[in-house]
């Protein structure tokens, strides 16, 4: 008895007590489905024949990697995610800078700026779908007022990807902005005053002082923004359903189609594992890049 309470006391005052709950929770949640998904990815399983699961080894992976449809989805997704993240970063930073001061109405403006994230993605998709509509949509209405011809953004294979990127940027830039703003606001003014005294100009201050200090929040913002984009589904599904043709079919949409419309859960699991792999590579690269620039 005595030993246990002493052990508990020692544990509670140790550093590891802080992180234990988190690690156990996450491990418990993640281990089972990952293993399940891994073993499922090595099988052929059509959900409409629920008891028939056939072991096929790596053939799912090989089929997928050689499949043109997968390559298409991969390319689309990478463009979608990386361009969207870059745009959000730039816009988010600009907005965060502008908001990084006290002025009347700040709270209200900030609340307004996060609205895009609050509207349910399905509704976002529907609203933007109609905004892009050539006959009935607002965007074309304004274009016509300015003298342009109405254009069917979502019906054209070349413009559909930029169109959904714009919607995605609209939806998730507030996410980036909020994180960067919190980061800017928690910076101590001391080094900045010193820099001013030393005669540094705006750009120098930004490049050599702000950026390095903001490394943490920037990394968080970019990493999670990428993951939000990567798993974006409802909005795109409602706006284009992956079309026209396959022009806006992202990996997420491809997985969904495979698993929940074609019911090929084995193959879908394999794509899921590949997606996991891709995300790991992207995030590791970004983290290394951020850490090396110091």
């Amino acid at each position: 008895m005595f030993f246990i309470s002493k052990w508990i006391k020692k544990f509670a005052s140790s550093d590891y007590s802080f992180i234990l709950a988190g690690l156990i929770a996450l491990l418990a949640l993640v281990v089972y489905p990952t293993i399940y998904a891994l073993q499922l990815s090595l099988k052929k399983w059509n959900l409409t024949e629920s008891t028939k699961q056939e072991f096929v080894g790596l053939s799912n992976y090989i089929n997928i990697l050689l499949d043109e449809r997968f390559i298409n989805a991969l390319t689309r997704t990478l463009i979608f995610v990386l361009v969207g993240a870059a745009l959000s970063l730039v816009l988010g930073f600009i907005l965060a800078f502008l908001l990084n001061r006290d002025f009347p109405g700040k709270g209200i403006i900030r609340a307004c700026l996060i609205v895009p994230m609050i509207v349910t993605p399905v509704v976002v998709g529907l609203v933007w779908r109609f905004m892009y509509n050539a006959e009935l949509g607002m965007i074309n209405y304004f274009l016509e007022l300015l003298g342009f011809e109405p254009f069917a953004f979502l019906g054209n294979m070349n413009t559909v990807l930029p169109a959904i990127i714009i919607t995605d940027v609209w939806q998730y830039t507030p996410f980036v902005m909020l994180i960067l703003l919190a980061g800017l606001e928690s910076l101590s003014p001391v080094p900045f005053e010193a820099a001013k005294i030393d005669g540094a100009n705006r750009w120098q201050t930004f490049r050599y002082l702000t950026l390095p200090l903001m490394k943490g929040p920037i990394l968080v913002a970019v990493l999670f923004r990428i993951m939000l984009s990567f798993s974006a589904f409802d909005t795109i599904f409602v706006m284009t359903g992956g079309g026209p043709g396959r022009a806006s079919e992202t990996l997420m949409m491809y997985v969904y189609r495979l698993g929940f419309e074609h019911w090929h859960m084995g193959k879908a699991s394999a794509v899921g594992i590949i997606m996991l792999f891709i995300l790991i590579i992207i995030s590791k690269s970004l983290i290394n890049f951020a850490n090396s620039n110091q």
Partner: protein, 426 residues
């Protein structure tokens, strides 16, 4: 007479209910007016049988996923679900749903027995391997919606054949106010790449006499007739359809008609009440109905959805009572007088005066129901993949142009052949 029958029914059911304890069954339906109307009448069922009904309503696509997961995991959460006719073969084969022939033979309640009154092709949609796996809850056929005022204005006849349709559509695509922009388009239909658009182009090639799959399960998309059919579809939509047609689904297509931008549209008949609904339609009263265009056969959009019993249900008897009640001629007769639905499955109801009085398109619907044919649709478990490939090809063709139809159809045909080969059909 009716009152007497109801009393008899009540007594019969009470006796039956005495043997079955007061139970609760769970029902999964999708969000649509027929479901709401059914739910409104639940108290009648509950009073007559003593069975308590818990229901869940989800959007259609969501409902399909949920019921599929319930089936696969054999959790038996839902006793009765909506099953669309294209899922019947795969669910039946996988033994997810209960075959109803025995129930029909031995547990049928005289008042709710509609088995001989269902439209035969609707009931066929619920069959697999000769056995019945669901009772048809709603049957929807394709009709042609057209602007009578515009046809009259330009002295045009109601199109009957595919060629007529193209000609009339051409005539009705006009710049009405002379400002250089087209104000009205001749025809709109489903062109988007998602599988929800499948029915229309599939029904189109059916019109040319081609079945999506032949008796050996080989896809027929690369045959000259199929290519001709799709070229017609693509040309029609590109030339005389509103811009963005490659991304237009059934809802937008309907909207273009309701807002007066498009003159004709062939689609499921249940859009008819919307046309006259002044709350959403700007062309109320101007729309008339006709049989869909015919080439060799009538184009199809036919859809029947039924109620099936979960094979893992623990309350099959109660579930069966519910299924019979919900699809019975008697219930349909009560509802038709309210005019809230138009997708009945009972022949007597479709031919009834009440139907004629409450639904403006009744004649057309009745006629179309007689030529409805579930065979236009490839009802195999892999249809989702087929729809995916096909709709993507059609949508691309609409975006790029009719010159591409031949290549796209040949590619699609090849892909589908590979899919079916992998699935073990040959």
């Amino acid at each position: 007479m009716k009152k007497f029958l109801i009393v008899m029914l009540f007594i019969m059911v009470v006796c039956l209910a005495g043997t079955a304890n007061a139970q609760t069954i769970r029902v999964l339906l999708y969000e649509q007016i027929p479901s709401y109307v059914l739910m409104e009448r639940l108290p009648e069922f509950e009073k007559a049988t003593g069975i308590n009904v818990e229901y869940e309503l989800l959007a259609e696509a969501q409902m399909e996923k949920k019921e599929m997961l319930d089936f696969t995991a054999h959790t038996g959460t839902y006793d009765v679900t909506n099953v669309h006719f294209w899922y019947i073969p795969q669910f039946a084969r996988a033994k997810y749903i209960e075959p109803l022939d025995e129930w029909i033979k031995s547990n049928s309640h005289p008042e709710w027995d509609t088995i001989n009154d269902f439209v035969p092709s609707y009931l066929d949609g619920m069959k697999y391997d000769g056995k019945i796996y669901g009772l048809p809850f709603q049957g929807i056929v394709q009709i042609l919606y057209y602007r009578k005022d515009l046809l009259d204005q330009y002295n045009l006849e109601v199109p009957k054949t595919m060629d007529d349709l193209m000609n009339v559509a051409r005539e009705l695509t006009r710049d009405l106010d002379g400002d250089g922009k087209t104000d009205i388009y001749g025809y709109s239909d489903r062109g988007s790449a998602d599988p929800a658009s499948f029915m229309s182009p599939v029904g189109w090639i059916f019109a040319w006499g081609v079945n999506f799959l032949d008796e050996d399960m080989r896809p027929q998309l690369d045959t000259p007739l199929a290519i001709e059919a799709i070229t017609h579809y693509v040309t029609l939509l590109r030339e005389y359809g509103p811009p963005g047609q490659a991304n237009i689904g059934w809802a937008e297509a309907e909207q273009t008609v309701l807002s007066g931008k498009v003159a004709m549209h062939a689609d499921t008949h249940d859009l008819a009440p919307d046309m006259d609904d002044t709350e959403i339609s700007q062309v109320a009263g101007k729309i008339e109905f006709a049989m869909p265009p015919k080439q060799e056969r009538y184009a199809q959009d036919f859809f029947v959805s039924g109620l099936s019993i979960n094979a893992d249900s623990k309350h099959k008897e109660a579930a069966w009572l519910f299924v019979q009640w919900a699809t019975s001629t008697e219930l349909q007769q009560q509802i038709v007088e309210t005019g809230k639905r138009s997708d009945y499955t009972s022949q007597s109801v479709l031919a009834s005066d009440a139907f004629k009085e409450t639904v403006r398109a009744s004649d057309t619907i009745l006629k179309a129901s007689k030529v409805a044919d579930p065979a236009y649709f490839p009802r195999i478990p892999e249809f989702g993949q087929l729809a995916d490939v096909f709709c993507s090809a059609v949508s691309t063709a609409i975006a790029k142009g009719p010159e591409y139809v031949s290549t796209l159809m040949k590619e699609a045909n090849q892909t589908i052949t590979e899919i079916l080969a992998e699935a073990g059909y040959y």
